[in-house]
């Protein structure tokens, strides 16, 4: 670790009604990876936004390379050498890699853009990062991992001295994360200061040198990573030790009836000949790399995307027998008792501009209506019931969903399917973008639902989540099912082996 390049001292920031940052201290040294941790809403992003000039601080000082500075916008921060690699990638899909990297500052020859120089400069950047990407490829044709690399290359091309990674691994597979870490180590070796924001405890232990923890807008403390345990960090973040115990054997009785049977499902390139069974009260984990076709399988079953062929059978509640169902749209799927909880809640899960009540009864408004008229009292009652049951944190059922945190939004989606009384729930990345404290609440809830007889399909890219929650695991790779195993025999290695089986 080198000398201190950046110091933020006593940073204070208030928004109407919220004290977002309460005299926070933070420093970064040259050649270190410094983790910034805290639950959602702890103030990490706000602090970084103050640093890069998006927000104006109320008080406090920022010292950068020995001088007191104040940036008024991201451009000024960039020019000084402080850049952010955002969680959501800001790339133009139809432009090439090189065009994206140099967007807004294209090298010119006369009035023409000098494409040749741009491509050469991009190549030089990639060489420096030791990664192989074709600068002339269209951005949209790259994998998410590669796109992230381009974003990093773009950051470095600004002559960066401090790079902030805002949850860079949220959309990456394990292999891609390894590549990312290799790059980060390389940047550290080049004496850059790196800020790493993440929710994933395992990564923090692997990649960072120091950890600064924030809670409720305040500074809690800074630790040397190798001298502390995960529990130390978690305790600092939430003040209590958490997490469900991982399962060692299936909680689902071996004679549990099959509630969903999928046979030879085909839907485009991403779903080829997929067959599996789901038992009553079971949590069936779907593991695989990003792009393995798990989400696509779920969407095809749910009728959200068209399918070419395949047979789907669902247990009839009255007779207890499997019956083939035709699912051509989500309308059919919901009628058949399936609920889908998307990985992208804000886009596909909740209507953020509407209240918790309106979201809770969205899937079964007809049960809370007389004729065409909505029974608002009944709606409110059932919403309140589930707010209490799921411990959703909200001032009231009328609250707009956009004002809730990620974990509470997820609870609203769960409530929607419970109000509908769906028996088969498909959780697609149930804890993506959810902070540590709320994460475990979702886990507990899923276990409770399964024990009450709901059947759950859980798609997850987090290995720890798959091993912690599943009774049985299905593994997919490049659109095909490559394996299936009981939790008792599953290991990280055996899953990874099957998850990469089709990749040459």
């Amino acid at each position: 670790m080198g000398d201190v390049i950046l110091t933020m001292k006593g940073i204070d920031k208030s928004f109407p009604g919220v004290h977002a940052l309460d005299h926070v201290d933070f420093e970064v040294r040259r050649g270190e990876v410094h983790a910034l941790m805290g639950e959602n809403g702890a103030g990490k992003s706000t602090l970084m936004k103050v640093l890069t000039g998006i927000y104006k601080k109320d008080s406090g000082t920022i010292t950068y390379e020995g001088k007191e500075v104040e940036f008024h916008n991201t451009r000024e921060a960039q020019d000084a050498g402080i850049v952010i690699v955002h969680q959501e990638l800001n790339m133009v899909g139809d432009l090439t890699v090189a065009q994206n990297i140099f967007i807004g500052r294209e090298p010119v020859k006369g009035i023409r853009i000098d494409d040749k120089k741009m491509i050469e400069d991009s190549k030089a950047l990639f060489d420096k990062l030791k990664i192989e990407i074709d600068p002339t490829a269209k951005m949209k044709d790259l994998t998410v991992g590669k796109q992230q690399m381009c974003e990093i290359a773009k950051a470095i091309s600004h002559n960066a001295k401090v790079i902030i990674f805002d949850e860079p691994s949220a959309a990456l597979t394990e292999k891609e994360i390894d590549d990312l870490f290799a790059i980060i180590r390389d940047l550290r070796a080049q004496n850059m200061g790196i800020v790493y924001i993440s929710h994933r405890m395992d990564e923090i232990k692997v990649i960072t040198d120091r950890v600064t923890v924030m809670r409720d807008g305040g500074y809690v403390g800074t630790l040397i990573t190798k001298d502390c345990t995960k529990e130390d960090i978690i305790n600092m973040m939430v003040g209590r030790v958490i997490y469900e115990e991982p399962k060692t054997h299936s909680m689902c009785p071996p004679d549990a009836p099959v509630v969903l049977k999928v046979e030879n499902l085909n839907a485009g390139r991403m779903v080829q000949d997929v067959s599996f069974e789901l038992h009553k009260g079971e949590i069936l984990g779907f593991s695989g790399l990003m792009g393995a076709g798990r989400t696509e399988t779920a969407r095809a079953i749910f009728g959200a995307d068209p399918k070419q062929s395949g047979k789907i059978s669902i247990m009839n509640k009255q007779t207890g027998k499997l019956e083939e169902v035709t699912i051509n749209s989500p309308v059919d799927a919901v009628k058949a008792g399936i609920g889908y909880l998307s990985e992208d809640r804000r886009r596909y899960g909740v209507v953020v501009g509407k209240s918790i009540i309106e979201n809770s009864t969205l899937a079964c408004l007809e049960d809370y209506s007389h004729g065409i008229f909505i029974d608002k009292a009944a709606e409110k009652k059932v919403t309140e019931k589930y707010i209490e049951e799921l411990a959703t944190k909200t001032p009231g059922p009328d609250q707009l969903v956009m004002n809730l945190s990620g974990g509470n939004q997820q609870k609203v989606v769960i409530a929607k399917w419970l109000v509908k009384n769906s028996d088969i729930l498909i959780f697609d990345e149930p804890t993506r973008g959810i902070d540590v404290g709320a994460k475990n609440e979702i886990y507990k809830l899923m276990n409770k639902l399964a024990s009450e007889g709901k059947s759950i399909i859980m798609i997850s890219s987090e290995m720890t989540e798959i091993l912690r929650m599943s009774d049985r695991i299905v593994i997919m790779c490049e659109g095909k099912k490559t394996g299936e195993m009981d939790i008792a025999e599953a290991t990280q290695e055996s899953i990874m082996d099957k998850a990469t089986r089709n990749i040459k």
Binding site: F302, A304, S329, P330, V331, A333, V334, K335, Y340, S342, R347, Y348, G349, V350, V351, V352, G353, K354, E358, L362, A363, L365, E366, S369, I372, F373, I374, K376, K416, K420
Partner: protein, 326 residues
């Protein structure tokens, strides 16, 4: 001010709506002070304003539903004229009974609503394109059907069909206002208390999330445009009952006025948020403004400019309010 905003009654009506009512009253006072004779001829001006409110009000109520889905309907004005022309031709040339012609008028509106709704909801053609096309089609059909002749409807002195004008006013009693109020209440109930209204607002806010909740979003999207079409039909009835003649080839200017009334009332152009009460107040403001501009001695052209500016200001206010929220 904050305390006033938190008052339950104020919250129920909406703070912005109260401001708008204030604007409406203020505007009337300004006109009375600034324009000589405006107050003296108060009854006349109010009557003219109300006449404008009726047909524009129905257009505006209808388009509130389209906008609530996140779409738009630029065809309502010409559709209104097309309805009136077809009804008028049936009355004048085919000698159909007036009652039946009124029915035809609403039917034509319904037909346009079904066409627009079907193309937008089930064929996924952008509302902007379809309604622009419908606008031209409506103008064309109106002209072709009537062989480019303007159509007259019975005056109040007509011994047989004079009752028609009484749906506007009867011995000075504003029947139209009662009908419009009832229609607005019905629209409010549809928007806020029925499944259709709930789904229309939700899909306007996030269509994919509603679809993935197992709701047939296409059906409800179509319903919004059908309501819009029916309202254009009813607007046509009130237009001809008020002004008794209708010319082929016109009607576009009322699109802007209807949309302006709707947006000014707090309905968001991006969908998901709609206020029927706001639309009603907005329509009153637009109508009074039109009357005021004429009373000032300016012509139709100034009216167009003012309406255009109002649309921009209303949408700008909506967009900036949203940006501040985020």
């Amino acid at each position: 001010m904050e305390k006033f905003k938190q008052n339950p009654v104020v919250k129920k009506i909406g703070f912005n709506r109260i401001i708008l009512i204030g604007v409406l009253i203020l505007m009337y006072i300004v006109f009375c002070v600034a324009i000589k004779g405006f107050a003296a001829a108060g009854a006349d001006h109010l009557m003219n304003t109300l006449n404008y409110v009726y047909f524009l009000g129905f257009l505006s109520l209808g388009v509130t539903f389209s906008i609530a889905t996140g779409g738009i309907d630029f065809s309502i004005g010409p559709v209104m004229f097309c309805c009136a022309l077809i009804g008028g031709y049936c009355f004048n040339s085919y000698k159909q009974p007036l009652g039946l012609c009124i029915f035809y008028i609403v039917l034509v509106g319904l037909a346009f609503g079904i066409f627009n709704g079907y193309m937008i909801a089930y064929q996924s053609i952008p509302p902007f394109i379809i309604s622009m096309a419908s606008m031209n089609i409506a103008k064309g059909i109106g002209a072709v059907f009537t062989h480019v002749n303007s159509q007259s409807f019975p005056q109040s002195s007509d011994p047989v069909n004079g009752w028609f004008t009484r749906i506007v006013s009867y011995d000075g009693f504003p029947v139209g206002l009662v009908v419009f109020t009832v229609a607005a209440v019905i629209c409010g109930i549809i928007m806020y208390n029925t499944k259709a209204g709930r789904y229309i607002l939700c899909l306007g806010s996030n269509e994919e999330a509603v679809r993935l909740s197992g709701v047939d979003t296409r059906k409800y999207k179509m319903i919004a445009y059908v309501i819009c079409g029916i309202c254009a039909g009813i607007a046509a009835v009130y237009f001809v009952a008020t002004y008794t003649t209708v010319q082929p080839g016109y009607g576009d200017q009322y699109n802007n006025e209807a949309i302006a009334g709707c947006v000014m009332g707090g309905t968001s152009m991006t969908g998901g948020i709609a206020s029927i009460l706001g639309t009603v107040i907005g329509v009153f403001i637009i109508s009074l403004l039109q009357e005021g501009i004429l009373a000032f001695g300016f012509g139709k052209d100034i009216q167009l400019i003012v309406t255009g500016i109002i649309v921009i200001v209303a949408v700008y206010a909506d967009v900036t309010a949203r940006r501040r929220k985020n």
